[in-house]
Amino acid sequence: MSDSSQAEPLVPELTRDVVLKVARLARLHLAESEVESFTSQLTQILDYVGVLDEADTEGVEPVAGAMGLNSVLREDLPTTSLSRDDALSGAPHHDGSYFLVPPILDPRAE
């Protein structure tokens, strides 16, 4: 990037391994054909976004969120919660009281 003094490219080549690693991070199971097409398409797109290197952003504040708004706070007042049935209504698997997921064997391991 132009506002960085580092000479070596900051972004490594998007290899198949990187694609698989990112897919894992994003919890996406990809078919073999997707791994291939994403590797080439993402490479192409990342190549293209490299044009940003040409923008001089020295000393420029990044935009974060809504323009000009700040300090939007709400008062600590209760609102009506959903019924349990409504809360669970969209769940693919529940027992009427809880959402159910495959056993978590190793707490926080994943």
């Binding site: 900051l10 044009v51 990044p62 959903l82 959402f99």
Partner: protein, 491 residues
């Protein structure tokens, strides 16, 4: 007999006069949907019975002399990206197939309170990611003008519904052009309000810092009317501005004195279609004839807009769409081995290719080590793009440009080339990056009869100016009165 092909103002008059009823109007819309939507694919869900019941109830209240809301019985179609209590909300994704939200989006509440008749949920690119509505998991939407061409996207269904007279008004959302571009492809008016003008509460997020809800209508007045209903301050959306909402319709007839129209010709790309170029020039001539000053302006960072957008939007999307993991709502794979595999398979199976592509891109851009190079860099460039517009608006009142490089494109022509698809957003995405209001209005047709839109941009919260400027053009050209052959045949 009144049909949804009439303008919303005419329909409201007829409803008030008793020349028609909401029930008849709603039934007419449902008939048109039944007749044409198999071919067009504008709706994912038609809420026939509840819509007719709501229409009848509004008619009764009208007869009883009760006060009615601004929309007083007009059918409105809602993009399937907005949560509707009791009606399915799928975002055109298998991930949310069958999901019925237990709550209404803020704008849906506003529509109900304004006595709109919610007629159904419209088709879109999956999770609003796309420019043709071909990324819908449930089939594409075609522009009613040419059934071999896309309606545009991602709000293709809403645009097509209005163009085909299936609803006089529709609501869409715009993250990088998703209202304006389909409005252009379908020959209707579409308005993306200033970021923060309309509450995003209940708008299923694609890219939170870019998404805005806005109106579709056959004419400028209808867009002004619907915006009056949609816009307000909602404390449930921290990014929603506490700005007064003007009565947009009141100023509409008044031409803007000494209007200054800016053009950034540097930004007109090589790929610009000849017919589009001519239509835009013709529109500028219209303004010139009306006494406007035309100024050439500079937007030095406009060339970075697509790159900037395709980092910011996928980054936010990768985060916003992480919640679809098959636990609390949405699809869960039938076949998995343990929790992590359940996540991966549920997401891998239920998301379409474009959604996965953007999740991958965004996840990569935010992952350890690349945040500064990608997301942060893009947010800095975004600041520069904003500043370009601030600068430009010191010397002009509105900025005119094409909406898209081409009229409606043939189905299938870009699906296999995502980068080319992204590049086609070049005229619309800056408004989202800079948070500006933008409007697309009918400005002519290609030689082969596909509609062409003109885009106008204005400074933040100047929707009124945008609508006034658009109305000037509309009165002069009357492009908006043309109807797609399909719809005319049937009525």
């Amino acid at each position: 007999m009144a049909t949804a092909l009439e303008s919303s103002a005419t329909l409201l008059d007829q409803l008030t006069d008793g020349q028609t009823t909401s029930l008849r109007l709603t039934q007419d819309c449902l008939d048109r949907i039944a007749a044409h939507d198999t071919a067009i694919g504008a709706f994912l869900h038609v809420d026939s019975e509840p819509a007719l019941a709501a229409a009848a109830a509004i008619d009764r209240r009208r007869e009883a002399g009760e006060p009615l809301g601004l929309l007083a019985g007009l059918p409105v179609a809602v993009k399937d990206v907005l949560a509707t209590r009791g009606q399915p909300t799928t975002c055109a994704s298998r991930m949310l197939q069958g999901w019925v939200p237990p709550y209404d989006a803020h704008v849906v509440e506003r529509l109900r309170r304004a006595d709109a008749v919610l007629i159904g949920k419209t088709n879109m690119d999956e999770f609003a990611m796309g420019s043709t509505t071909e990324n819908s998991a449930f089939g594409p939407t075609r522009t009613p003008w040419r059934l071999d061409c896309a309606a545009g996207g991602s709000s293709g269904g809403s645009a097509a519904a209005v163009a085909a007279g299936m609803a006089p008004l529709a609501v869409g959302s715009d993250t990088g052009g998703s209202i304006r571009q389909p409005a252009s492809f379908c020959g209707v008016v579409g308005l993306k309000p200033t970021y923060g003008r309309v509450s995003r509460y209940g708008l299923v997020a694609f890219a939170s810092s870019l998404d805005q809800v806005g109106p579709f209508s056959g004419d400028v007045r209808g867009a002004a009317l619907l915006l009056e209903v949609l816009a307000d301050h909602d404390p449930r959306d921290a990014t929603c501005a506490d700005e007064p909402v003007p009565a947009y319709r009141d100023q509409l007839e008044r031409p803007l004195d000494a209007l200054r129209v800016g053009i950034c010709r540097d930004h007109f790309t090589e790929g610009l279609d000849k017919d589009v170029d001519e239509a835009v020039e013709a529109a500028i001539d219209v303004y010139r004839r009306l006494g406007a000053e035309i100024h050439d302006i500079q937007l030095p960072h406009a060339r970075f807009a697509v790159a900037c957008y395709y980092l910011v939007a996928p980054s936010e999307a990768s985060s916003n769409l992480a919640r679809y993991d098959g636990v609390h709502y949405g699809a869960r794979s039938d076949d998995y081995d343990g929790l992590v595999d359940m996540y991966c398979r549920s997401r891998g199976e239920a998301f379409g290719a474009e959604v996965k592509r953007r999740i991958m891109l965004g996840t990569y851009a935010l992952s350890a080590g690349y945040y500064d190079a990608f997301y942060l860099k893009a947010q800095k460039v975004r600041r520069l793009i904003q500043q370009d517009y601030q600068q430009a608006f010191t010397s002009v009142d509105v900025i005119a440009s094409p909406v898209a490089p081409t009229p409606a494109i043939p189905l299938g022509s870009l699906v296999s080339d995502p980068l080319q698809m992204y590049l086609a957003d070049t005229y619309t995405i800056s408004a989202n990056l800079a948070g500006l209001p933008g409007l697309s209005l009918p400005a002519g047709f290609s030689d082969d009869g596909r509609p062409i839109g003109l885009q106008l941009l204005a400074p933040p919260f100047q929707e009124s100016r945008l609508l006034q400027a658009a109305a000037m053009h509309e009165r002069e050209t009357q492009w908006h009165l043309r109807r797609p052959p399909l719809a005319e045949d049937s009525s």
